[in-house]
Amino acid sequence: MLWSVAWRNIWRSKVRSLVIICALTIGIFAGVFTWALYEGMVIQRINSAIKTEASHIQLHHKKYLENPDVKYSMNLSTRISEQIDSMAGVKAATVRVIVNSMIASAETGSGVQVVGIDPDKESRVTNMYEKIIDGEYLEGVKRNPILIGKRMAEKLNVNVRSKVVLTMQQMDGEITRAQFKVAGIYKISNGMYEEMTVFVKKSDLINLIGLDRTGSHEIAVLLEDDRTYNDIRDKIAARYKDLDVKSWKELMPEVSLVEETMDISMYLILGIILFALLFGIINTMLMAVLERVKELGMLMAVGMNKIRVFTMIMLETLLLAFTGCIIGIILGYLLTLLLMKTGIDLSAWGDAYERLGYDTVIYPIPDILIAAKVSLMVFVTGLIAAIYPAIKALKLKPAEALRIDI
């Protein structure tokens, strides 16, 4: 019965209640949608980081990450890669030869990281082959094909079938150079990566720098399940003790930092929204209590105890808050569902996002956990907002309250 009384009390002053419900709805709608958008942005970044760039786990020579010199290569890495490929939970593994180099076109030059890959195996680990916007994935060119990023192509002013020259250090320290022909141009969300990384065939690169056929600088491992990277990293590390085994979180701490701070950022944003709304709710409830002094006095006179009066005011506040909360969540979800497929294009704000590795088109994610987290925060806000008006109500003395004329 208290529930029903509380609910009906909210609607005694329709306009007043609707105003605060609208404020809550707008605040929570904005919070839920921003959260979904932010989550979409972060997950897209992580997906790109794992699926296109780093994969889940990487193995290197113990000294390689500290000093990425060609001499820190892993011997027999093709065999290690095959062994890892057959481990449980591993989807695929591939080896990469990585050399820092200079790239030059007829017009200009630039520093670049050359990654020598086995195109077939690489396409099982990363989805780079899906990112080709012009030409083909290291095919269609007979000798020394090279795959470069769109930004790099613009910088060098080259097209598919243009020639570029790579200059690099060999294993023995000598400098060598070779001519490559652009087979394809790729485009990914991470602009910096696109500007810094080119791909050639592993066999071409090995010949050029004089590395052993089984040697490489990196083994990239893709897992079947995104969540198992810690377990499998430990298993691999236990097996290859003389190699450096790291998960994507360790390799790209800036990406994992964004993921880990996402919730904190959103709690803060919603916290600020709800803190502002808190005063609105307190004001509404205080008015609701003060205009009912006589009625509350009567209720206490006829035997409604303090716990019940307190509960009734609490329920009124929480019902008021949750009405706005539920409408806000529903609206936030509807907008998320609407934009989930089409995405929101942020390219009008320049390419700063892309340079940081984020897509310019963000696809918000409808996540039921967001609704749960937001509801919990609204619940806490409602409880806090109810305290002062409820205490005001409890301080009433029935004999005095009944005498007041309103």
Binding site: L299, A301, G303, A399
Partner: protein, 228 residues
């Protein structure tokens, strides 16, 4: 059987500037089934007396003993429960819960008492029929006339089967027809349920119906007349 025993009751309101002796040593007792009016001019102490007997206010001295309990000594939380179990109230300005229907208003106190649904329902129907409002049980107070609201208030006061009912000027806002109707209903219920009714009033029509009339002036009982 004695329902209320009041001994040497005093009440002093201490304002910052002056003291008001609202009650000056009242000795009274009420038997089960009485239908008594407390009369007197404004400021004589009627409402103060009813508030203290009803446990809404604390005495400054003396005792109010109800069911072997000196209610002046009860803590306010215990007092609320005591009121819930033992006392029915009818106030001057109807004081129904506006968001509840007549039926829900009558059931509300039984609900607070934790009575089962079937019992609440039966008692509500009996009382609404006794006050002649069987056809209005689903109306909200705003849809009822003043007289009808006051009849619902009487039904509500009786719903909890209290030891006695206190009514502070119950007819003050009613026209003469409604007053008469309300008094008839109260008298009938007083006889049928043997519930003690004590009301304060100015109203000569109410005084006429009372079987006992207690007159208070300046916080003292000046006459206590029992009629047959």
């Amino acid at each position: 059987m004695k329902v209320i025993d009041i001994k040497n009751l005093t009440k002093i309101y201490n304002d910052s500037e002056y003291k008001v002796n609202a009650l000056n040593g009242i000795d009274l007792s009420f038997e089960e089934g009485e239908f008594a009016a407390v009369v007197g001019p404004s400021g004589s102490g009627k409402t103060t007396l009813l508030n203290i007997v009803g446990g809404l206010d604390k005495p400054s001295g003396g005792e109010v003993i109800i069911d072997h309990t000196n209610i002046g000594k009860l803590k306010s939380s215990r007092l609320i429960d005591f009121r819930l179990k033992n006392i029915g109230f009818v106030f001057q300005a109807y004081n129904l819960i506006p968001v509840l229907t007549a039926r829900e208003n009558v059931e509300f106190i039984m609900h607070l008492q934790g009575k089962p649904k079937a019992e609440r329902e039966k008692r509500m129907k009996d009382l609404m029929s006794a006050v002649g409002l069987s056809d209005r049980i689903d109306s909200r107070p705003s849809k009822l006339s003043g007289g009808q609201q006051q009849r619902v208030a009487v039904a509500r006061a009786l719903a909890s089967k209290p030891k006695f009912i206190l009514a502070d000027e119950p007819t003050a806002n009613l026209d003469s027809k409604s007053t008469e109707n309300l008094l008839d209903i109260m008298e009938k219920l007083n006889k049928e349920e043997n519930t003690t009714f004590i009301f304060s009033t100015h109203d000569a029509r109410v005084v006429k119906k009372a079987r006992r009339v207690i007159t208070i002036e300046d916080g003292k009982v000046v006459s206590d007349e029992i009629r047959k």
